[in-house]
């Protein structure tokens, strides 16, 4: 536990280092230093511009803290409503599609080809950020909340299916067997042994995903996929930071409500 170091002839106690191996520790330190040197050499910062920015940030913060809800109210209202409805429908649709997908992605239930296909889909949908997926959907479907809805559904399926599949793989076989021993049919086994084991986590995941979907829906408008993002970008590019501040406060408030709701639902289901 104690690594003693010699200082002025006295034994002194020093806390245990995070990396136990001495060579590895120095190698890591050296690599970190080399990396930082490379970063400093390649990232150029326009300090004059940054200094101007610090001056501006005071004004910006002042405007953000005096939010103006009135002047862009109709746009903000439609945008927020679009974001909320988009994320709600996408969560429900995503969760419904995720159920069969998760069965295919559970190694203890699915044959190998199906398993590989569903896992490939899950990796694909989880790797690409929502905004980038939205760009592709906007090209295919045109501008508007429908493209955003498809984007969020696409991402929700991958997210919920992955976590749900892990849960199904961890399911307790004893309860399945107990149900079978009473002579239950397949549907009864699913209803009374599988669903009760997976349900609390499933509901928790769905509410959590609703929360994520809403946060994402607030920026999809930047690429034209509906929601409050379009209004937010317009407000920012016209330097209407008081309107932008109002939208951000609405977003934060809704996220807080969703977080509270998800905590409440999760504790109610458990």
């Amino acid at each position: 536990m104690t690594a003693a170091t010699r200082a002025e002839g006295q034994r002194r106690w020093a806390p245990r280092p995070l990396i136990a191996n001495r060579t590895a520790r120095w190698l890591v330190r050296l690599l970190v230093l080399a990396y930082l040197a490379a970063v400093v050499a390649t990232v150029d910062v326009n300090w004059v511009r940054v200094a101007e920015g610090i001056e501006r940030s005071g004004r910006l913060l002042g405007q953000f803290l005096r939010p103006d809800f009135a002047s862009r109210w109709s746009d903000s209202r439609i945008g927020i409503l679009e974001s909320v409805t988009m994320s709600l429908v996408a969560t429900v649709a995503g969760v419904l599609i995720a159920i069969p997908v998760s069965l295919g992605a559970a190694r203890n239930l699915a044959p190998l080809p199906l398993y590989l296909a569903t896992r490939a889909y899950i990796t694909l949908s989880r790797t690409f950020p929502e905004v980038i997926v939205a760009i592709v959907f906007v090209v295919m479907m045109g501008f508007g909340p429908f493209a955003g809805l498809l984007t969020l559904t696409f991402a929700s399926v991958g997210f919920v299916a992955k976590l749900l599949a892990e849960d199904i793989e961890d399911i307790d076989d004893g309860q399945l067997e107990a149900m079978r021993a009473t002579g239950a049919t397949w549907w009864q086994v699913v209803a009374f042994a599988v669903v009760p084991q997976v349900m609390p986590r499933f509901v928790g995941l769905s509410v959590y995903r609703l929360d994520i979907n809403f946060r994402e829906s607030t920026i999809l408008g930047i690429v034209g996929a509906g929601g409050v993002g379009a209004t937010l970008t317009t407000a920012m590019s016209r330097y209407d930071f008081d309107s932008a501040g109002a939208i951000l406060i609405l977003v934060i408030a809704i996220v807080l409500v969703l977080e509270y709701l998800s905590g409440y639902v999760r504790s109610a289901v458990r």
Binding site: S57, L60, M86, V89, T127, F128, V255, L256
Partner: protein, 270 residues
């Protein structure tokens, strides 16, 4: 025990009559809400554009394939920038998050009002999407990698501080009390009592956030905050889809590799 009399015999039910009624009401209300939301989205959608989506998709894939692999060479610098935005942004976020977490944790906060302020910082940082942070920072410090680094840092503060805050609140009070009883001041108590206990969790959280940040750094360029998103935006705007597909492959590879590295490092630490 929920038991109901069915056809003169007592039959066991999984849920009591009251729970079933409640579940039914919630279900119907949710269904109504989803249908109303869908109606709203459908009204905002131009269905003529959606109808030719299969054609558009086919057209898109024709233009994207084959990818123009020669373009990959020009992507090395943007990929390096993306890595720097995520890594330096995470480091800065970690540095900012540690004091915020100490101020927010019930066990270490100097005062209740300080704790409330720290919690507001955490909520604001977490609720606002990194793309919105990037929009604000591009306005403040000008377009480029530096704006991206700051956006990632400010976005990470809330996430890291929230998890670190929970880790601090769960620390074992005994070692802390032992150190305090040796006459250590508040600073020494934190360094020798709390830090060793939360260090593994802290390192794990930071690496996890780094992996998320790589994914987020890939699209910050859409609003001018540096990284590979800049090239993606440019190639899409000029309809160079064969280049865009190379970029998408590069993003996919980078996110996958970072996820693998993060998982390896986390399993090595904890």
């Amino acid at each position: 025990m929920p038991v109901r009399t069915v056809a003169g015999r007592r039959a066991w039910q999984r849920t009591s009559a009251r729970t079933s009624a409640l579940a039914f009401t919630v279900g119907v209300a949710l269904l109504g809400l989803v249908l109303w939301s869908w109606e709203l989205i459908a009204r905002q959608t131009i269905w003529i554009f959606v109808q030719d989506a299969p054609e558009q998709a086919l057209n898109l894939f024709e233009r994207m394939l084959p990818p123009r692999w020669a373009y990959a060479e020009a992507l090395l610098r943007p990929l390096w920038d993306t890595l720097n935005i995520a890594t330096i942004g995470t480091l800065a976020g970690v540095a900012l998050a540690a004091p915020v977490a100490l101020l927010a944790a019930r066990t270490t906060t100097p005062h209740q009002s300080v704790r409330a302020f720290a919690l507001v910082v955490i909520v604001a940082s977490r609720s606002i999407h990194s793309l919105v942070w990037a929009l604000v920072l591009v306005f403040l410090v000008g377009p480029g990698v530096f704006a991206g680094i700051l956006a990632i840092a400010l976005r990470s503060v809330g996430f890291i501080a929230k998890l670190l805050n929970e880790a601090i609140e769960e620390t074992d009070p005994k070692p802390i009390e032992a150190i305090r009883s040796t006459g250590a001041g508040p600073g020494e108590t934190i360094v020798y009592g709390i830090v060793p206990q939360v260090l593994p969790a802290f390192a794990g959280i930071s690496v996890f956030r780094w992996d998320i940040n790589i994914r987020e750094a890939t699209f910050l360029g859409l609003v001018g905050a540096g990284g590979i998103g800049l090239q993606l935006n440019a190639s899409i705007n000029s309809l160079r889809w064969a280049d865009a597909s190379v970029i998408l492959v590069a993003i996919f590879a980078m996110v996958l590799v970072s996820e693998w590295v993060s998982a390896r490092v986390r399993s090595a630490i904890t």
